[in-house]
C-alpha cells in the first residue's frame, strides 16, 4: 500500500519542467500578430489542456468505450450489463437516489479516518516515548500490516455487533495502521544534525517533541492519510454491503437484489468517483502540508 504514492503523481512533474516545448513557443506566437492574439492564445490554451487531458485519460475513455462496444456486440441483456449511457443517465437523472447513501458512506469513512488518525498518532507517540513499548508493538504493527483487515469484516461484526459500530471499526482499523506507521517514521525522520542542535541546546524531551519531532511528522502523517483516504471509502462500502447498514454498499446490494443494474453500476460509478476524489483531496492536503513543513 505504501507505494501507491507515485502511481498517480501528475501535475507537478509536467508543470515543473522549466522549458516545455509548449511553454516556449506560446508567448512568441502571441507577440508576432497582435490583433488575433487573445483568440489564438485562448485556442492554444484550450487545445493544450485538451491534449493534456487526453494524454492522461485516454485509457479511462478507452475503458468506457470498450464497455459500450462490449455490451453492444455481445448483445447482452440490460440486466447483465447496462450500457454506459444508461448508467450515466441514472446517476445524473436521479441524484436524489444516491445522495443519502453517499452521505452515509462518506460519514462512515470520515469518522473512521478521524478515529484512525487520532489513535495512530497516539500510538506512534506512545511507541516514541517508550523503547519497551516500541519493541513490543513492532510485531503487532508488522502483523497488522499484512493481515487482510477487510477480510475480517465478518469477525469484526461478530465481536462488536452488526450495524454501524462494525462499519466504523473497520474504517478505523483500516486507517489506523498507515497513520501509525507513517507517524512513527515521521517522528524518527528529523535529520541528525538538527537533532544534535537540540541536544546541544539541552532541549527537554517535551520541547524536542513539540518544536522538532511533531512538525517533522506532519508530512509523513499526511502521506499516511493519503494512503488510506480512498481505502477508507471503499472498505466502508464493502462493510455496508456485507452488514446491510446504510450507505452505498447497501444501495448496491439492494439494486442487485431488485434487478436494477443501472442503479447498481451507478453506485459503483459514484463510489469510484468519490474514492478518486478522496485520493485527490488527500494528495492536495499532503502537498500543502509538505510545502509548509519541509
Amino acid at each position: 500500500m505504501s507505494r501507491s504514492e507515485s502511481a498517480v503523481v501528475e501535475g507537478p512533474s509536467a508543470g515543473q519542467h522549466p522549458v516545455g516545448p509548449g511553454d516556449g513557443t506560446a508567448p512568441r506566437a502571441d507577440a508576432e500578430d497582435g490583433g488575433k492574439q487573445p483568440r489564438r492564445a485562448l485556442l492554444h490554451t484550450l487545445s493544450r489542456t485538451l491534449s493534456r487531458l487526453l494524454s492522461r485519460y485516454w485509457t479511462v475513455l478507452a475503458l468506457v468505450a470498450a464497455w459500450a462496444v462490449w455490451v453492444r456486440t455481445r448483445q447482452l441483456n440490460q440486466i447483465v450489463a447496462p450500457t454506459p449511457a444508461a448508467v450515466f443517465g441514472d446517476v445524473l437523472g436521479h441524484p436524489g437516489a444516491y445522495l443519502p447513501d453517499l452521505g452515509w458512506t462518506l460519514l462512515n469513512a470520515a469518522v473512521g479516518l478521524a478515529l484512525g488518525l487520532v489513535l495512530g498518532v497516539t500510538g506512534a507517540l506512545l511507541v516514541w516515548a517508550s523503547p519497551l513499548l516500541s519493541g513490543l508493538m513492532t510485531p503487532m504493527a508488522l502483523i497488522m500490516r499484512s493481515v487482510p483487515v477487510v477480510a475480517m469484516i465478518p469477525v469484526i461484526a461478530r465481536v462488536v455487533g452488526f450495524g454501524i459500530t462494525a462499519v466504523l471499526t473497520v474504517t478505523t482499523v483500516v486507517s489506523f495502521f498507515p497513520v501509525f506507521v507513517m507517524a512513527g517514521s515521521g517522528l524518527r525522520a528529523a535529520p541528525a544534525a538538527t537533532r544534535d542542535v537540540f541536544t546541544v541546546l539541552a532541549a527537554t524531551r517535551l520541547t524536542r517533541l513539540r518544536l522538532l519531532l511533531l512538525p517533522h511528522a506532519v508530512p509523513a502523517v499526511l502521506v499516511g492519510l493519503r494512503l488510506t483516504a480512498s481505502t477508507a471509502v471503499l472498505s466502508a462500502m464493502l462493510a455496508e454491503y456485507l452488514l446491510g447498514t446504510h450507505g452505498l454498499g447497501l444501495l448496491f446490494a439492494r439494486s442487485v437484489t431488485f434487478m436494477d443494474p443501472a442503479r447498481a453500476w451507478g453506485t459503483a460509478l459514484v463510489a469510484t468517483v468519490v474514492s478518486v476524489l478522496c485520493f485527490v483531496g488527500a494528495r492536495a492536503a499532503e502537498r500543502l502540508g509538505s510545502a509548509r513543513f519541509s
Binding site: S6, V8, T59
Partner: protein, 248 residues
C-alpha cells in the same frame, strides 16, 4: 547487543499479542464471539472441521496464488510498455488508479457474468496484486538516478538497452517491495472475491460461519487467512533483504 534486545522484545511482543487474544477470550471481555485462542486451535482436532478448513484454505491459496502471478505478469508488461513508450505512461497511471478505486464489490456481478463464480476470486486477487506491483514497477523503473541515465544517454544506449541494463536492475528492490505488498493484497482479493458466491474458500467459510454462529470455525478461517497472508509477506520481505544486498 541491540539486535538481541530487539529480537527479545519482538518475541515478547508476539507472545503478548497471543496471550492477549487468549486472555480476552478466557475472560469473556468481548462476549461469546471472541473465543480463547486455545479453543480455536482445539476445534481443529475434529477431522471434519480440519478437512473443511483445509479445503477452504487450499481454494483461497490457489486463487490468491494464481491471481498474484497473473496480476504481477500483467502489471510488469504494462509498466515496461509504459517505460518503452513514454507518451503512454500518464494514461496507464490513470487507468491503474481508477481500476484501484473501483469498489471491489462492484466488480462482483460483472465478473460473475464474465468469468463465473469460480474464477472471480482469482481475478479480483489479480487486480489487487497487479495494482501494487504496477505502482512499484513504475516507480522502480524511474528509480535509476539522473546521473546514471545521463551516462547511458551519453553512451548512445538505445531505449531497450537502457531498460535492460539500467532501469530493470535498479527497479529490483522497489519491485520486490511491491511484491511483498501485493501478496497480502492478493489474499484479500481472493477472500473478497469468494463473497460473491464462490463454491468454497476461506471467504465463504468466514461468512457462513458468521451467519451460523460457528465462532470457533470463523476464527479458524480468519486466522488461516492471516497466516497465509503473513507467510507470503514474510517470504517476500526476506527476499527483499537478500536483494537489497545485491542491488543497492
Amino acid at each position: 547487543m541491540n539486535r538481541a534486545r530487539t529480537t527479545v522484545l519482538t518475541v515478547a511482543g508476539t507472545l503478548l499479542l497471543l496471550a492477549a487474544m487468549e486472555g480476552v477470550g478466557r475472560l469473556g471481555v468481548l462476549g461469546e464471539s471472541w473465543p480463547p485462542l486455545t479453543q480455536v486451535v482445539a476445534a481443529l482436532d475434529d477431522p471434519i472441521t480440519r478437512d473443511l478448513l483445509g479445503r477452504a484454505l487450499a481454494a483461497t491459496a490457489t486463487a490468491a496464488g494464481t491471481g498474484f502471478v497473473a496480476g504481477t505478469l500483467v502489471a510488469l508488461v504494462v509498466a515496461v510498455v509504459g517505460a518503452l513508450l513514454p507518451p503512454l505512461q500518464p494514461g496507464l497511471d490513470r487507468l491503474a488508479a481508477v481500476v484501484n478505486a473501483v469498489p471491489l464489490i462492484a466488480l462482483g456481478p460483472l465478473l460473475i457474468t464474465t468469468v463465473g463464480r469460480e474464477g472471480t476470486p482469482a481475478v479480483i486477487a489479480a487486480l489487487a496484486a497487479g495494482f501494487a506491483v504496477f505502482v512499484a514497477a513504475t516507480s522502480g523503473l524511474g528509480a535509476a538516478g539522473a546521473a546514471h541515465r545521463d551516462v547511458f544517454r551519453a553512451l548512445g544506449s538505445s531505449r531497450r538497452a537502457t531498460l535492460l541494463r539500467l532501469q530493470l536492475p535498479a527497479a529490483v528492490p522497489l519491485l520486490i517491495d511491491g511484491l511483498a505488498l501485493a501478496a497480502p493484497a492478493a489474499v484479500l482479493g481472493a477472500v473478497v472475491g469468494e463473497w460473491f458466491g464462490a463454491p468454497r474458500g476461506l471467504g465463504v467459510l468466514l461468512v457462513s460461519s458468521m451467519q451460523n454462529f460457528q465462532t470457533d470455525l470463523m476464527w479458524a478461517a480468519a486466522l488461516s487467512a492471516a497466516v497465509i497472508s503473513l507467510t507470503a509477506y514474510a517470504a517476500l520481505a526476506g527476499l527483499r533483504v537478500a536483494a537489497a544486498r545485491r542491488f543497492v
